[in-house]
């Protein structure tokens, strides 16, 4: 998943939330919007995608490899052979193309290959479409922007924390009494500071409510309003929220919607907090609470406004929210539920959609490297090593490339549609016929035994019997071998004499984790 994709799908979520906020702001519980912002934050901050069992890509791939291979091998006759002399094509064609290009059943494909070739470009383009993400200049730009942003917030944070350090314990007996009545696992302090103008809280594990020095309470109730408000912030870990919003802004600094989210989500934190205060003190307290806030804001004698228009609007929005919100009915909770579900579905959709994008992108990134290294290997092993050749998405196979015969059949038959899963079987790059007599096959196996991956295979028990030109596993001849070495880069062969099927297992970063071993059933 690229940052860009995260930013775009996150941005879409933000737009939806903005609309929802505008439509339902004072009609739904405040926590509704917090949940929605959380969803957007998740999308923006967490690069995972779901390993969706139903993803188009996964299905396509799993159906294409082992099954397709077996059937393809079995169904071929020597007349149908088209062979690739891949050595001459500097890595142009590969098993991966076969993978991507061949959607239809093997037999069908053989006959109609020419007509469908151009469809093969569809998958080729798909693979190329994300190449720009790897460029270093945009990356550099993004990184420096993010660092500047993070630096700004970090400096500000440290400055404030240094400032807060010199606070003194609150001495107001009423405040101390209130503090006694609070039960919380974390140790709560109320302190006073002469350098702030409005009550604040900081600290997550050792939370502190900071009051401006000499704050003049109009009455005991106002003090309780304020302290309760701050306590709710602490109980809800709003500091963590704010941190995540800052992180989102630093990472997605180029996305204005994320900045807007930071402002509005911060406001919603306050609104949700106000709502909770009113809930605790009762609906009758709404007026007193709103008036408390206004009086605490204080006023200056000048008629010039200090803050920006934006924060004035925020205050109005807040007063309106406090006054307008009625008790929520079952209906409003249901509405909230539906809204959250809707956004959650959007979120989930973005995850699934990105699953394919992820794999495709990764394939693209590694393509060039692979071609370089593998091509040498191929040339050395003369001309039959198409199977070890990596993906080359930008080259579309055409039939001419398969007109030689070396005991090897390469059938890059394109799918009509890359997402067409109906057949569930792909044709493959295979050896068939009498491979034992074919020197190229022997060379091919030999090449594998000299490949950089072979020592790894050996670790897991694969042995090369050079004399008889077989790979052995636990003393048995390996009949089918497959290793997906990278995104869409396959190495595989069949050995007619073998009965063990080995599929190399690799983790997400393509590190080998073992073999999946199967005894093959008798072929019909």
């Amino acid at each position: 998943m690229t940052l860009w994709e995260m930013s775009v799908s996150g941005g879409i979520l933000i737009l939806v939330i903005l609309a929802a906020r505008r439509l339902f702001q004072n009609r739904l519980p405040g926590s509704t919007f917090l949940i929605l912002w959380m969803v957007a934050l998740l999308r923006l901050l967490v690069p995972w995608y779901v390993e969706a069992p139903f993803s188009v890509y996964t299905l396509w791939e799993s159906s294409g490899i082992a099954d397709g291979f077996e059937k393809a091998a079995g169904s071929l006759t020597s007349k149908d052979r088209s062979v690739s002399d891949s050595g001459e094509r500097d890595g142009g064609f590969s098993g991966q193309e076969a993978e991507n290009g061949m959607g239809n059943s093997f037999r069908e494909g053989t006959e109609s290959a020419a007509g469908e070739t151009e469809n093969g470009t569809v998958s080729g383009e798909l693979l190329c479409f994300r190449g720009a993400a790897g460029l270093s200049l945009p990356k550099l730009l993004w990184l420096s922007g993010g660092l500047i942003c993070a630096g700004f917030y970090l400096t500000a944070y440290l400055k404030y924390r240094r400032l807060f350090r010199v606070s003194l314990p609150a001495e107001d007996p009423a405040v101390r009494e209130w503090l006694q009545s609070v039960t919380m696992k974390r140790k709560l302090q109320v302190r006073s500071l002469d350098l702030i103008a409005t009550p604040m809280t900081y600290g997550v594990l050792r939370p502190v409510i900071l009051l401006p020095k000499g704050i003049q309470w109009e009455d005991a109730r106002q003090m309780k309003f304020v302290l309760t408000h701050e306590l709710i912030h602490i109980r809800r870990f709003d500091a963590v929220w704010k941190f995540m919003l800052v992180a989102a802004v630093c990472i997605h600094w180029f996305n204005p919607l994320v900045w807007l989210m930071q402002i509005l989500a911060n406001r919603d934190l306050e609104l949700a907090c106000d709502e909770k205060v009113v809930e605790q003190f009762g609906q009758d307290a709404r007026r007193a609470y709103a008036m408390s806030l206004i009086s605490l804001a204080g006023h200056n004698d000048s008629r010039i406004s200090w803050g920006s228009g934006f924060s004035k609007d925020a205050m109005e929005e807040r007063i309106a929210a406090i006054m307008k919100k009625k008790r929520f009915t079952v209906g409003s909770f249901a509405g909230a539920g539906i809204l959250v579900m809707f956004v959650a579905v959007l979120f989930a959709a973005s995850l699934l959609q990105k699953t394919a994008g992820e794999n495709v992108g990764a394939a693209e990134e590694e393509k060039d490297n692979r071609i370089l290294t593998e091509t040498e290997e191929i040339k050395e092993g003369s001309r039959i090593l198409a199977q070890t050749e990596p993906a080359a998405a930008d080259k579309v196979p055409d039939l001419e490339q398969f007109s030689h015969s070396d005991g090897m059949v390469l059938l890059p038959l394109p799918k009509k549609n890359p997402t067409d899963l109906s057949e569930g079987i792909d044709s493959e790059t295979v050896w068939e016929g009498e491979p034992r007599e074919k020197e190229p096959f022997v060379l091919f196996l030999k090449n594998i035994s000299r490949s950089p991956e072979f020592p790894e295979y050996e670790n897991y028990g694969l042995v090369y019997d050079e004399e008889n030109a077989h790979f052995l596993y636990e003393g048995e001849i390996v009949g089918y071998f497959k290793d997906e070495m990278g995104p869409n880069q396959f190495r595989r062969f069949t050995d007619e004499e073998g009965a063990v099927e080995i599929v190399v297992e690799r983790d997400k970063s393509w590190n080998m984790t073992g073999f999946a071993v199967n005894r093959m059933e008798e072929k019909q």
Partner: protein, 119 residues
Amino acid sequence: MEVKLFDSELKVMDVLWREGDATAKYISEVLRDEVGWNKNTTYTLIKRCMKKGAIERLEPNFMCRALIPKEEVQEAETEELINKIYDGSADKLFAALLNRRKFSREEICRLKQLVEDLE
């Protein structure tokens, strides 16, 4: 001489006024127990007081002496500083009751009217 000190600096001076000359270490221990500051915080404040001419340092052992009596000290004006602080991103980083310091009389009236209207 008139010295303007912030609350925290006054707290440091309080110790000296109360207990006479004391080492920085002693002051920091007193304040740790009284107000929960760590050693570095207290040392920083002592240095600030020295800069403002409220404390003089005597060797050995970083002995501190108050240079001015309690009566001559004024509370520093914090207004300007507070406004500067609110220029920053305090409300993006910390939960603040209000994200804005002051309103003009006009705005206050409008907000109060809003409450009345909505009730």
